[in-house]
């Protein structure tokens, strides 16, 4: 009877450890990845494509050296940036937003300033290089549109000149 109890306990313990290991692997993946997101005028003229989201083992949830400031908007007014007005003395617009590893979900918010244009295209590059266990959903908050970024590689939308369009990228892993 004692022997049966012992083997039963060991079976449950091993199962628990295996489940924990699998969960850990599938939820965190590699320590570093990044995804480039850009915006351009529909005809391809003028763009802002130097923008990155991602995770890095050395990154923090707040400002760190991996977060690069977004340059001022060009006179054309077209710009994509990650707003972080809650970072104290480092508050501002950023061209990259790197965060530490997360367990289940992370949301990256960004703004597209339309400048003098009325139709813009969002695009993202090299999503294939990001581990497959991560899923990306682009959310157009104003238009309430959800896009599976692994299946669709760009998104064109109409906007008003000078308008600030807000988007989110929800990453699950």
């Amino acid at each position: 009877m004692r022997k049966k109890e012992f083997f039963g306990f060991m079976f449950v313990l091993i199962g628990f450890l295996l489940t924990l290991a699998l969960f850990s692997y599938s939820s965190t993946g590699p320590d570093d990845w990044s995804l480039r997101i850009g915006v351009e005028k529909k005809d391809g003229q003028y763009r802002d494509s130097y923008n990155f989201i991602g995770i890095s083992k050395n990154a923090s949830l707040y400002y760190d050296a991996k977060d690069k400031l977004e340059p001022p908007t060009s006179p054309s007014g077209l710009s994509l940036y990650f707003p972080h007005y809650d970072w104290g003395v480092n508050s501002g617009k950023y061209a990259s937003d790197k965060r530490p590893r997360f367990v289940y979900k992370e949301t990256y918010e960004f703004v597209v300033e339309a400048g003098e244009y009325t139709q813009l295209k969002l695009f993202w590059q090299d999503i294939e290089d990001v581990p497959e266990n991560y899923q990306f959903t682009l959310v157009d908050e104003e238009r309430e549109i959800f896009i599976d970024m692994r299946k669709i590689k760009d998104y064109t939308f109409d906007c008003r000149p000078g308008y600030k369009n807000r988007f989110r990228v929800i990453v699950t892993g």
């Binding site: 494509s49 130097y50 690069k68 340059p71 060009s74 006179p75």
Partner: protein, 519 residues
């Protein structure tokens, strides 16, 4: 016949008469009766008495015996004499001297003189009789002279040992080595700024041969190193050695001049490109072959040509080449490499751009690296015609972070950046004066639009190195945003290039000065 026989008999009788005293009456051996055991170098001995004796040891007084004295000393200045003459009759000395023990005498006296210290054997000999020998010790005189023995005029590479010892010899006045004398070594002259030179020993006691040596490790600068050996109260002290340190292997190539030039198409630049090749300690390296090449030129440009495909560094480590510009305006980059070592190269930037072009319909981010008498944008860009927002507009980022538009913007100045958009493609020829000194830019809090103030590139690293405090404190963010004219978007850059404009961020909250070095 009879006369001949008679003459022969008389001759034989005469020979017998003269020779018999030397042979038959000379006794059977020579014996040294009196002798010295030692003498100081350079002094006469007391006398030697040499006697001829028969087999029974009795003195022999009959006849004549020619006695030949000799010494095993290898000194050049030695002498036998029947008297103590001073100075002795030198040279040649010592060789071939003889003295005769005359009829009626059994002995003769000799004196000996030698300047060579050592233990020698003095022998007296005569024909047909037994010799006799005695040992004599010739003592050294007092230490008197220090002289250079070996190691002078050596050379080796910097930071290495000379191949041979530096050595002196301490002697008495006759050249006999004297042991036990302290010799002090010192480095008395080095190339400016040299460090690392060292002597293996600074005080050396002379050995049994009077030798005292030390080893020199050369310092880190090429040139002359003088070493002195001294010993108090010795004549000719100190003794000076000259040595030379050669530069090491080529380790670095750097631009000396010529890197920030502009000129007209199809002309030879007024200044040559000059590079300097140095070793790891900064010493000039001569005789190194520097290869020259045109690394970049405007699209379609022809006729650009360098004066030399390769040139050799001179005694100052410098090599030269000149460039004839091609037939297109734009940037020409010349690269100098050397020594087959990867990374040993330097690039010169040259521009023919006194002509600036703007693509119509596009926002162009630019700067102008010239000083003008009239810096008003409308005067400088007069080819655009009078200001007309329908034809061209000029912007600049203001302190508030908003764009201000001409005419409400500052006049052109090297180091300031601007935006221009024109209705049509425009090419403007500019006549101004280039800037050759460092430029200090005032950065206001927040983003600043700057320009390259020179007609050559300056790396972001050079700017950071010139302003270490600003970057160490993060007063200036370590990010340089430029504008890609082809893709029409911002891009991160690692250098400021002529005619281009950039954004830099001042996060200090107050105005700061940023120095742009002219390399």
């Amino acid at each position: 016949m009879r006369n001949l026989t008679k003459t022969g008999i008389i001759s034989l009788a005469l020979i017998f008469f003269f020779c018999m005293p030397y042979v038959a009456l000379a006794g059977n051996k020579l014996v040294i009766l009196t002798y010295p055991s030692e003498v100081n170098a350079g002094e006469w001995t007391t006398f030697y008495t040499v006697q001829r004796q028969d087999d029974n040891g009795n003195p022999v007084t009959e006849g004549r015996t020619k006695v030949f004295p000799s010494s095993t000393s290898y000194g050049d200045r030695k002498e036998f004499s029947p008297i103590q003459s001073f100075p002795p009759p030198l040279p040649p000395g010592g060789g071939g001297f003889s003295i005769t023990i005359r009829e009626g005498k059994s002995s003769v006296d000799f004196y000996y003189y030698d300047e060579k210290a050592g233990n020698w054997t003095i022998t007296f000999s005569a024909d047909g009789v037994d010799n006799d020998s005695k040992n004599l010790r010739v003592n050294r005189a007092e230490a008197e002279i220090i002289s250079k023995l070996s190691g002078d005029n050596q050379s080796s590479n910097i930071g290495t040992n000379l191949p041979d010892f530096l050595a002196v010899k301490v002697t008495d006045r006759f050249g006999n080595g004297i042991n036990g004398i302290d010799v002090h070594w010192s480095i008395t002259e080095t190339p400016y700024g040299a460090v690392g030179q060292i002597l293996s020993t600074q005080t050396v006691v002379s050995d049994s041969e009077g030798k005292a040596g030390t080893m020199l490790t050369l310092g880190d600068k090429s040139g002359n190193y003088k070493i002195q050996a001294s010993s108090s109260s010795l004549s000719y002290s100190p003794v000076t050695f000259n040595t030379f340190a050669n530069s090491g292997k080529a380790h670095n190539i750097s631009m000396l001049s010529g890197g920030c030039q502009s000129g007209f198409m199809n002309t030879v630049l007024t200044e040559p490109f000059v590079v300097k090749v140095t070793d790891e300690f900064g010493n000039s390296v001569r005789g190194v072959t520097v290869s020259w090449s045109i690394a970049e030129s405007p699209t379609g440009a022809v006729w650009q040509e360098l004066s030399d495909a390769s040139s050799s560094t001179d005694s100052d480590g410098e090599a030269y080449a000149t460039l004839t510009l091609g037939d297109k305006v734009g940037l020409y980059k010349v690269e100098a490499t050397c020594c087959d070592v990867k990374g040993l190269s330097v690039a010169f930037t040259v521009t023919t751009d006194r002509l600036v072009s703007f693509k119509g319909g596009n926002y162009n981010m630019f700067s102008i690296p010239y000083l003008f008498n009239n810096r008003n944008p409308e005067a400088v860009l007069n080819a655009l015609g009078p200001y007309n927002p329908a034809k061209w507009r000029l912007f600049r980022l203001s302190r508030s972070g908003e764009y201000q538009e001409y005419p409400n913007i500052p006049d052109f100045s090297p180091g300031m950046g601007y935006w221009l958009i024109s209705a049509e493609d425009i090419e403007i020829t500019l006549e101004g004066e280039a800037v050759y000194s460092d430029i200090t830019l005032i950065l206001e809090p927040g983003w600043n639009q700057i320009g390259c103030p020179f007609t050559c590139s300056v790396s972001w690293n050079d700017i950071k190195n010139m302003n270490p405090g600003l970057f160490a404190s993060n007063a200036v963010a370590d990010v340089l945003w430029g504008y890609d004219d082809e893709r029409l978007e911002f891009a991160m850059r690692d250098a400021v290039d002529p005619w281009q404009s950039y954004y830099v961020y001042n996060s200090s909250g107050s105005s700061i000065n940023l120095i742009i070095p002219n390399k």
